[in-house]
């Protein structure tokens, strides 16, 4: 461990602002693209499911018409 | 026989585009006027001190040339795309890169060449020294066809899109950076009375590569856009 205390760790020898700024923005971007990729996937799967249900309903309605 | 007809195809495509441009004179005059106006804006914006203008002249002239080349690029394939003759060119048995080469050269003749010819006059406006004048003309002479070639790739990619114009500038401008760097550095070097053959040689090499590679890239871009 290079730092004596937690406040020293935060201060980063006077460069705290720059170090935490870059690590902060980095994690923000990484998280943002990761989460948005996952969310896109869930949304897409929901859309496909909705489409499947719709086709199922149409099929059923057509069958009822025939009956 | 076959060689002869390839040559004929090249000439006829080239002639058609140049004749069309000369009939609608605005296509030739507008980029030139734009070139002049952009150059006029800079002294107004940064101040009229002659020393400052001399220092910034190469950059300003080149940025203006770059922007006015962009202006004509959108029309390069647009009209042919709209009236269907682009499809004819693609469907014809002749190699598409050849007709594309003719079209790009026609574009350069109608937008790049007038700029090269007018550059000495505009350079006077920017208080450019006499020794830098020849460098300006030479870099423009080698550089503007290069701009047409690279720009035509972007134009080919975006010709099928409704609002392709802005997107095309976004795609093409980053690719223009090497041309800008070497051209302005050639002019800078020449205004210090040093030899600028090296930069010109690099520009020439880039032009040679673009001559060979760009028509292929443009043709595949056009094929994507048309179908």
């Amino acid at each position: 461990m290079q730092f004596e205390s937690f406040s020293e760790f935060l201060a980063m020898g006077g460069y705290g602002f720059y170090v935490w700024l870059s690590f902060g923005s980095c994690s923000a971007i990484l998280l943002a693209i990761f989460i948005s990729s996952l969310r896109d996937g869930y949304k897409l799967r929901d859309e496909v499911r909705a489409q499947m249900r719709r086709e199922e309903r149409i099929k059923q309605a057509k069958q009822q018409e025939q009956v | 026989m076959m060689n002869h007809s390839y040559w004929q195809l090249f000439i006829s495509v080239y002639k058609k585009d140049v004749t069309l441009a000369f009939r609608q004179r605005s296509e030739i005059v507008n980029p030139l006027l734009f070139f002049l106006i952009v150059i006029t804006l800079f002294p107004l914006a940064i101040g009229p001190e002659p020393a400052l203008l001399t220092r910034m002249a190469p950059g300003i002239i080149w940025v203006a040339a770059l922007l006015s080349t962009m202006l004509g690029l959108d029309k390069l394939f647009r009209d042919d795309f709209n009236d269907g003759s682009l499809e004819q060119l693609i469907a014809s048995p002749y190699p598409l890169p050849l007709s594309v080469l003719a079209k790009v050269l026609a574009h350069w003749t109608t937008t790049g060449l007038p700029m090269v010819l007018m550059a000495p006059v505009f350079a006077l406006l920017m208080n450019l020294e006499a020794q830098a004048l020849s460098a300006t003309v030479l870099t423009l002479l080698i550089g503007t066809p290069l701009l047409s070639f690279i720009g035509a790739i972007g134009a080919g990619l975006t010709v099928g899109l409704q609002k392709g114009g802005i997107l095309m500038s976004l795609l093409v401008l980053p690719l223009y950076i090497p041309v800008l760097i070497f051209a302005t550095s050639a002019i800078d070097t020449s205004s210090m009375s040093l030899a600028y053959g090296g930069q010109l040689a690099i520009l020439g090499a880039m032009l040679a590569i673009a001559c060979v590679c760009a028509p292929i890239a443009i043709s595949s871009a056009l094929k994507v856009s048309v179908n």
């Binding site: 923005s25 | 690719l175 760097i181 994507v224």
Partner: protein, 246 residues
């Protein structure tokens, strides 16, 4: 090798491959990222010259390497897509581009935050910064071209052509910019044997590079899965898959 590779041109097989690879990438990324950041931030010794501000290197260098690595892999995928007409390669191009753009953005942001205390300015027109910025423009060009097309089939092909044109231009841009102006410090770890960097700093840096590479792979796989589903959503296998709740 072709016999082995060829089935992956089929969307279903590619999707399954993504699923197999995903957990490995996820574990590697998570483990390396945690180790790399804790080691880099807390345990690596301070630089004698740049003090603690040098710790930004642990994200700046990996993201810069990966921004270029992602572009080259995108270009390779684009060439494969254009030459062999493989749809999955096109989808891969579109999946890599946003991740590469993110890496480039991180490299630029962290570079700015490092430049302020070291050079006294957030931004200097130095060669590497400028070419990194142009790289970001190229990524944006590929992405916006893809999204501009209504028809996703020609969108993919157009994006591939642009990616290939970009990769031919990239070295030219890089060397022209380098030649134009150089202020940036030389590479730190180009040669491993005569490395200018102490092992106590090199190890966390290497771990971070692995972590970022893993992250690029991970997110690319997730996005590639999405793209495959998007393009094959009328196929029975996708329906079955989605119906199972996967």
């Amino acid at each position: 090798m072709w016999k082995w590779l060829h089935p992956y041109a089929k969307a279903e097989r590619a999707y399954q491959l993504c699923n197999t690879l995903l957990p490995y990438f996820a574990v590697i990324t998570l483990v390396c990222l945690v180790i790399g950041w804790v080691w880099g931030l807390a345990y690596a010794p301070a630089d004698y010259q740049q003090k603690d501000s040098y710790r930004i290197i642990f994200i700046h260098v990996p993201s810069a390497i990966l921004s270029m690595g992602a572009y080259s892999s995108m270009a390779i995928a684009a060439i494969i897509a254009l030459v062999w007409q493989i749809r999955n390669a096109e989808l891969a191009v579109i999946s890599i581009a946003p991740v590469g753009a993110a890496m480039t953005a991180i490299a630029l942001l962290t570079g700015a935050a490092w430049g302020k205390p070291m050079w006294g300015a957030w931004w200097v027109w130095d060669a590497r910064l400028t070419s990194e910025l142009i790289l970001l423009f190229l990524y944006f060009g590929v992405l916006s071209l893809y999204h501009a097309f209504e028809d996703k089939k020609s969108a993919g092909r157009a994006a591939c052509i642009l990616a290939v044109v970009g990769v031919i231009n990239l070295p030219i841009i890089h060397f022209s910019v380098e030649w134009w102006n150089t202020l940036h410090q030389g590479s730190t770890i180009t040669k491993f044997d005569t490395s200018a960097i102490d092992p106590s700093m090199l190890w966390p840096l290497l771990i971070n590079i692995v972590a970022f590479a893993g992250f690029v792979g991970l997110v690319t796989l997730i996005r590639l899965k999405n793209e495959i589903i998007q393009h094959e959503k009328h196929r029975p296998w996708v329906r079955e898959l989605v119906g199972r709740g996967e």
